[in-house]
């Protein structure tokens, strides 16, 4: 594999069932060592797209290439490069964590030492000999990720990996994924309906809505730029005037003003307000919600 070859390429993926188009012309690429976020509300076609990526669903049109292998025609070669969790981390509940990992290790023909390694990575080694039926959702999520890491794949596909994890667990998994991407040059595909999660974890993001990709770009371009500052002030009119002077877009209500700006611009602006006698009671950065973003991108169509 040459360094320039993308780890995952989806080309014009389309899935039509009956007369309903579930996914339409979805294309994207994942480079080595890149964490790619697939963002969209529930029902946008994220899971259907993931099922097509891993061969569970046959696309009506389009193709998937993994590590240079055609996923349909060279299924075994392609899938040897992939570890994945589709939807929920459903493992065999009537078997122990270790038996589950052994089950999948046998399918991959990897050695038993792999099991210890991946269990260590997701901090699950101490519960490995208990039945999965006794695990919490967070632990099953960890076991699912451990299973996906068996055989050291080049591509990791994770569907809503933050589901069921507590905040500490989410941070731990996020750090693990970042480490895998930077140290092992793993490419990671993450789907989520949580803007904040994608923003913190991913390098690049595609936004999917009603089966189509609306936007694609770096996290900075797509999400960070959509942040604003919320200020509670005693004189909204004067604050608005100052925002206009600074060439900053804004909106207001009776005692608040929201100004679109980057973080470094905030202190000088607040200083300017204070200098002109506006009292600032409260200042807070606010991320534009996913819903706002969709409203904007779809021109007022609501998220369903």
């Amino acid at each position: 594999m040459t360094p320039t070859q993308p780890t995952l390429t989806a080309t014009n993926l389309t899935k039509i069932i009956g007369d309903k188009t579930i996914v339409e012309n979805v294309s994207f690429e994942l480079q080595q060592g890149e964490i790619f976020g697939f963002l969209g509300p529930n029902g946008a076609g994220k899971t259907t797209t993931i099922r097509m990526l891993v061969g569970l669903i046959r696309p009506t049109a389009g193709r998937v290439t993994i590590c240079g292998f055609d996923q349909r025609r060279q299924f075994e070669d392609a899938m040897r490069c992939v570890g994945c969790i589709v939807e929920n981390p459903d493992l065999y509940r009537f078997m122990t964590g270790r038996e589950n990992l052994e089950h999948f290790a046998r399918m991959l023909r990897v050695s038993r030492s792999e099991i210890e390694r991946v269990a260590e990575l997701v901090s699950l080694a101490h519960r490995l000999d208990q039945r999965v039926g006794t695990y919490s959702l967070g632990m099953r999520q960890r076991l699912g990720i451990a299973q996906a890491l068996l055989g050291d794949p080049k591509l990791l596909i994770l569907d809503e990996p933050a589901n069921g994890l507590d905040p500490a667990g989410i941070r731990e998994i996020r750090e693990l994924l970042r480490r895998l991407a930077s140290e092992r040059q793993m490419s990671i595909f993450i789907s989520s309906h949580l803007l904040a999660e994608i923003e913190l974890t991913c390098d690049r993001v595609a936004i999917i809505h009603k089966g189509r990709i609306l936007r694609e770009g770096t996290v900075r371009e797509l999400i960070s730029s959509r942040r604003e500052m919320e200020l509670r002030v005693d004189d909204v009119a004067r604050a608005s005037a100052i925002a206009t002077e600074h060439n900053l877009p804004f909106r207001t209500d009776t005692d608040r003003i929201w100004i679109a700006m980057e973080e470094p611009d905030a202190p000088p602006f607040i200083a300017a307000l204070v200098q002109s006698g506006v009292n600032v009671f409260h200042a807070q950065r606010r991320t534009q919600s996913l819903e706002d973003m969709f409203l904007e991108a779809t021109g007022g169509e609501t998220v369903d």
Binding site: G55, L56, M79, C84, V86, D90, Y92, R93, F94, H103
Partner: protein, 324 residues
């Protein structure tokens, strides 16, 4: 490459405790029947078997004379009378309970419903449970083609169908041996009775030592169970819920059996797999429910059902979209 997959499937069946349930059911039923046989043995000690059989024959002849039963029943009754008469004529005591005869009889008694049901229970959730529990999403996204996964499941199912039959035979002997006479594997048996135009045909009757006769009966039963396994696999592929798959399996076994008994006029019924299932019975001499069902026909029919069911299973399983 297929061996690790078979290992996986075997582990799953064992961990689901499916086979433990099957063995427990077999043990319970065999223990019960052994007890009744044991009682019969004790009562028989002071009995005259000739008189008893003569009475059985007389009572059946009475029923026939009254003529209120349908033609199928009448036909099988006439055959049974002729069979019993054969034992009287040759002075052989039939059905004297011994452990070997118990093992031999088990093939017939359990073969037409119990064993197929148990194999149905084992097989019906082998694919549908993966679907219901969501584990198919992992199973089918590993670098193993779908046909290999299904082949491993079929091999595992055949293995457990075979084990079910062997377990049945071993339990039948080991549970009954402490209570019934243990010897008699070499006792002569008579098979090959057949009915043509209402008369017993004894030209084809062969005398075999019991052990040989038992092996043949179990061999036929084994073939029938492999067919049932293929059909269970198909139902398991077609149904998303294990309960629906098991339910359909039970309904077709029981419904088919009832159908062959009540509507013998509907001759298309002979193409149902259930009609051909009691191979061991037909081998012993029980007349099949429809005309023109020779042993060869039955074996061919079961083979055809197995091949078609397996082919559909593979086509559907390898091509279908896996949704949540």
């Amino acid at each position: 490459m297929i061996i690790p997959l078979v290992q996986n499937e075997t582990l799953k069946i064992l961990r689901r405790k499916r086979f433990a349930v099957v063995a427990a059911i077999l043990f319970a039923i065999i223990a019960l029947v052994t007890y009744s046989q044991y009682r019969r043995l004790r009562e028989q000690r002071n009995r005259n078997w000739r008189a008893e059989i003569q009475q059985q024959v007389a009572s059946m002849q009475n029923t026939l004379r009254r003529g209120r039963i349908n033609e199928t029943w009448a036909r099988s009754m006439r055959a049974e009378i002729n069979r019993l008469q054969f034992y009287l004529d040759h002075d052989i005591e039939p059905n004297k309970p011994t452990a070997p005869i118990f093992v031999r009889t088990f093939a017939n008694v359990a073969g037409f419903l119990l064993l197929p049901l148990l194999v149905g229970i084992l097989g019906s959730d082998i694919v549908s449970a993966e679907n219901a529990e969501g584990t198919d999403k992992l199973l089918l996204t590993r670098p193993v083609r779908r046909w290999k996964v299904l082949t491993a499941k079929l091999i595992t199912l055949w293995t457990f169908a075979t084990l079910t039959l062997i377990t049945g035979a071993v339990l039948a002997y080991s549970v009954s041996a402490p209570f019934l006479p243990r010897g008699g594997w070499t006792a002569p048996t008579f098979t090959g009775f057949s009915v043509a135009r209402g008369a017993l045909q004894i030209d084809a009757v062969r005398q075999l030592p019991l052990w040989k006769d038992t092996l043949i009966a179990y061999g036929l039963e084994w073939f029938a169970l492999l067919t049932v396994a293929c059909i269970a696999l198909l139902l398991s592929v077609l149904f998303k819920s294990s309960a629906a798959a098991i339910g359909t399996m039970l309904a077709s076994l029981i419904g088919g059996t009832i159908l062959t008994r009540i509507s013998p006029d509907w001759t298309a019924g002979k193409y149902l797999f259930v009609s051909a299932l009691p191979l061991a019975d037909y081998y012993t001499g029980e007349p099949p429910p429809y005309d023109g069902m020779s042993m060869l026909f039955c074996i061919g029919l079961l083979g055809a059902w197995a091949i078609v069911a397996t082919a559909i299973s593979f086509v559907v399983f390898t091509r279908r979209d896996v949704f949540g």
